[in-house]
Symmetry: C2
């Protein structure tokens, strides 16, 4: 998605464009989306104001490009942060702890991401980007779960997606609480609670699965 929907293809332009996005992200993280002007961004990226508008049709288009960049960075980081595990329960524990570790390391970026997501929701031409974002994050967790479930057979694809959605909702809600009223100790405990709750949810699904199998063995083999 990052390199799609592009107009100019020159190598120089490509470099300048990326330079503006990175500079914009830094400016946005420092002062917030509402307070950051295009002049701030241009100065931070080392280009003139008019140059910025040559590469991006509008401030809006630049902000959405920054959001795409953030989504890519976050999904990549989340995938790399998580290690292999033996069963679903430890996979849930591992990916939630790893995800939380990444988010708390990058709190400023997460605020920008919330700001930009809400910004995208308000633009008719970008509501899809907000939806894409949540699909992408759910898919990260779903893929991680399915990597394990594929071997153990504990959950099918749809069930992994449901568990992933539950995990994302919990971690999202706790992140908002941590941003509004920071308290790492309290949040760490809350994450452990979320881990336990997700494990119960997943094993509930898994048990239903076994029960169905036992009741109607012919339909499965």
């Amino acid at each position: 998605m990052t390199t799609a929907a592009r107009e100019q293809v020159g190598a120089k332009g490509e470099r300048t464009r990326r330079q503006i996005i990175v500079g914009a992200l830094q400016a946005l993280a420092t002062g917030g989306v509402a307070a950051t002007t295009t002049r701030d961004i241009a100065a931070g990226a080392g280009v003139r104001l008019a140059t910025l508008h040559y590469h991006f049709e509008s401030k809006s288009a630049l902000l959405l490009a920054v959001l795409e960049h953030l989504i890519d960075e976050t999904t990549t980081a989340l995938r790399e942060e998580t290690g292999d595990t033996a069963d679903i329960a430890s996979c849930i524990r591992g990916s939630l702890r790893a995800g939380w570790r990444y988010l708390t390391r990058t709190l400023e970026l997460q605020i920008v991401q919330y700001e930009l997501t809400l910004y995208a929701l308000r633009r008719d031409d970008a509501v899809g980007l907000a939806g894409y974002q949540y699909d992408a994050y759910i898919k990260v967790y779903q893929d991680i779960l399915q990597g394990v479930a594929g071997r153990t057979g504990e959950l099918d694809a749809a069930e992994c997606a449901d568990v992933a959605r539950f995990m994302l909702a919990g971690i999202d809600g706790l992140l908002l609480q941590e941003l509004a009223k920071p308290n790492r100790t309290r949040s760490s405990h809350a994450i452990e609670t979320l881990i336990a709750a997700t494990q119960v949810f997943a094993s509930g699904l898994s048990n239903n699965r076994k029960a169905r199998k036992a009741r109607r063995p012919a339909t499965r083999g």
Copy 2:
């Protein structure tokens, strides 16, 4: 909190001030915080631009006043929406379903509230308001739970607060998912999952409590 920190006390001024806040809320809900100008708000509220700035020191101060108004409205609505219940499990089910019903009825207001909360987080003089907001919502659910727990003895105050925080995180996360990619059916199922998970969490706390009591009966009577 709404009527605190006021300067003018005249009845006329009070009415105008309220009129501006309500007009502002409507304008913000329609166009979003970023796109709403003070001129829009003034026109919508039926006052002159300069009148707006007589009642509010700045656009910032007006936006924060709108956030306070929203917090008050939401906490009141959440308390009224929830009925009495016999035990903690049905209390959790009732308050989560009631809360979700209210939020989905007022999605536009919820977007504005997220926008304004993030806005407050960026202002050094208003970070406290963001924290106050989450404390207020947690207290709503905590009070509802304690009303039941006080009779049944299932949970103490601190445990009610933990359960309340878990509920808020879950509902907050699912609200974000619903806003980013609306799907009422999917969200309703997710809320039922959250209800079940919260009930398991609460009954786990409650069982620990009974186990402690059985192990050390002297310390309790």
